[in-house]
Structures are given as structure tokens and as C-alpha cells.
Subunit: 100 residues, 5 copies
């Protein structure tokens, strides 16, 4: 998985049949030190993540391993909203600190 | 998924048996700010996307999760035509504005 | 899929059991404007593509979705030989022009 | 697989249903000569790897091929803790030397 | 598949249950002109490839399509040992020449 920041949404009315009702989020990749990277992905959001939240995105075939995405042409899913991460016992991001 | 712009088509008469009747589109990757990126992909188009439209492309094994691509050697599919996207509550692309 | 140019072949006599009889081609990636890119892939060729021809290569799990590659450890297949492609209604490559 | 160094952990309380109880580790990619690379991945850890240990990470659909990750939206797993590796008959990393 | 050179081995005693008995090789990617590239992969070796040999590596889900790797968390396998390859009818590598 990668860590990403939810930065926006995509709206699409013409879709393949089995894509109805799946919210699509724009997620920018985040580096380990919590700085933004240049790449992004459009991911299905089954958790209701808000703009500014850090999330985990699973890509490829594993993205279909949820009730919401089973048997759908989906290659990226937000499967967790991050509370905190640390490296070398130092906190790099904390949701409560970031959003307060 | 990635956001892409349909820029053209590919014609191929010699194909593996199970590839008949699937339109193949050239799709250039688009950055979040709606500028073109350098990479591209050839994707099956089951939606009839026109040149200039912004689309979502799913890659890898998930690309086979539609009736049109089931059990076919297809690693990229246009599974949505984008109406609009926004980042940080600002519209970055709107199909109606772009094509008018 | 990507567009590639067949530039050569690979010969290997020691292979896993289920790889017998599958021709292996060296395929260089081609940019949209028909110039060569730096990356390449070794792909199974079930169509008899010749050196110099432009082909479509499907990668990953979808590469196993043909009779020739079913249940084999193959992550890239030539699934079409390209006749022509165009971008913005302009022909970028035409097999008949290229090979005449 | 890639070789990585466990550098930290990610905590997430809001997850898709089937992600409960899977420890998530931050793993930095390591070059062959045992220097750190710039990329990282968040991987499920079923082995109890400690910070500083070198591990092997399998990505994509194969990451689901363990009891812990079966049918879960997981695209990266720590499937081995590395004791040592060598190139050209020279040891590049040895866990006992590194941690002593 | 990519062409690689076997440059070493990885030893790991703590592994997920189903990874016992699979030799793990360090494989450096090789360019078409037989020069070394910068990337590498750790691949399961079911063929007994020696250091210095050129091999083909299949990645992702297809790496599980052998008896040795079926149902295992393996994302890269050596599925062939290369004898020779050529581009534009010129030999770029020949095992007998290289190892003599």
C-alpha cells in the first residue's frame, strides 16, 4: 500500500454498468516524511475519507477484495484512514495534530 | 485508476482470437491540474469515448472485470468518462466547459 | 497495453515445464509519435510477428488469457499486430507505408 | 520481491471490515549494496519484523497468498526476514553483523 | 518478462509457512545490449541458475503459475535460463561465448 492524501473527487456519469455508486477520490501520494509526492491515483472510497485526510491505498487486483469492489473494474481502493505513522520511533504524522 | 485524455485510436486486424470487436483507444495520462503527462496507454473502450474526452483507465487484472473484457488478454480499460474533477474544492476540469 | 516494435528474439532451452513451445520476442516500447522509447519487454508471441512490426503487448495477469499462455508463468504477450494508429485524426504509423 | 528495511509502523482505526488485526509496517526499499533507496511501501507484517531488520516484500496479487491476507485488500506483504545476502560471492548484508 | 543476470542469493530462515524450500536469487536487470541496468529483483529460482547466467524473470501474479510457486506469496520467478538473444539479426548475448 502507499500513503496518500485525499485532495479531491472525480465525477463521472457514463461508466461501465458495474461502477454505479462508488465514490471516486483523487489521492496524492505522500512521502514517508509527510511531504507530497508528484504522483496521484484515483481510488474508490468505501470509508468516506475527507479532503486532507491521510489514507492507505491498495492497488491492482487486491483492490477488488472488498464487498464494494468485488467483480468491478477497480484497480485502487482506499482501505484505511491513517491515524498516525512513525519512523525510527518518531511520529511523522498524527491526524489529531494535523487537523486540530 | 488514472485520468487520461483520449487522443486517438489503434487499428489491428491480426489479433488473438478473443480480441475481436474491442475498440482500442490511445489514452494520454493527464496530471491533476489537467496538463498532459508524458506516458500513455492503449485501452479497450466499451463506452464510446471521443477524442478530447477525459476518461478513467483501470489497469492490470481489474481491466477484465467487465462483460466486454472478461477472459480476454486486456490490461487496460476505459471504465468511466469524466464529467468533472476538483481538488481542494476548486474545479480543475469540467467537460461542459472544456468542450463548449 | 503498450505499443512496441519487435526487435529480436530470445532462445532458452532450460525452462519451467509449462513453457515449451512458446516463442519469445524482444519488444521495444514505442512512443505515441512512433519514436523508440528506452524500455523493453520479453513477450510471448502467439501471432508470428516479424522484426520491425508494431505490436500491442498486454502485461501482468491478463497475459495468461489466451490458449497459448493459460496457466503459464507468462507476464507479457503480443496480442495484436498493429496496422495503423492515429492521434488527433493524423496518422502516426501505418504498417503498409512503413514496410513498403 | 524487493529487499526492504523496516523503518516504522502505520496505525489506522478506520479500515475496511476485513483489515482488522493486520499489523502495517513502513518498509523502505534497499539497494543491492545495502544502501537505502528513495521508495517505500506499507506492507502487512505477519512475521513480527522489528525496526531495522531487512525483509522481503511481495507485492500485488501474490500478497494475498497467506492465511493472514487471504481475501483481503492487501497489495504488499512481508513474507520473509532476511538473514544475509551476497552478490558475486561477497556478503553485502548479514543480520548478525548488522544488529550486533 | 525481463532479462536479468543472476548476481547472488538471499537467505531467510523466518518466512511465512508456505515459503520453505524455495531458493531466492538476486537478479539484476539487463538492457537489450547486454549492459547492466540499475534495478534488481529477488526471484524464486526453480531451475538452479548459477551466478553470471542470464535468465528470464516473470513478475506479479503469473509468477505463481508453476508447481513450485502455486499458492505462495511470490511475485517474481526465474522461468527460463537464456541461451542467446539477438536484435536486428545480430547476436547480443550468447551463453556459450559468455561463459567460455
Amino acid at each position: 500500500m502507499i500513503i496518500g492524501e485525499v485532495v479531491g473527487s472525480v465525477v463521472a456519469t457514463r461508466k461501465t454498468d458495474n461502477m454505479e455508486g462508488l465514490p471516486l477520490r483523487l489521492v496524492r501520494k505522500i512521502n514517508i516524511d509527510n511531504t507530497p509526492a508528484s504522483s496521484y491515483v484515483v481510488a474508490v472510497d468505501a470509508l468516506g475519507a475527507a479532503v486532507g485526510e491521510r489514507v492507505l491505498v491498495a492497488s491492482g487486483s487486491p483492490a477488488r477484495q472488498t464487498k464494494a469492489t468485488d467483480n468491478r473494474p477497480v484497480d485502487a481502493i482506499i482501505m484505511a484512514i491513517v491515524d498516525t505513522w512513525q519512523t525510527n520511533h518518531e511520529v511523522r504524522y498524527s491526524k489529531s495534530a494535523d487537523l486540530s
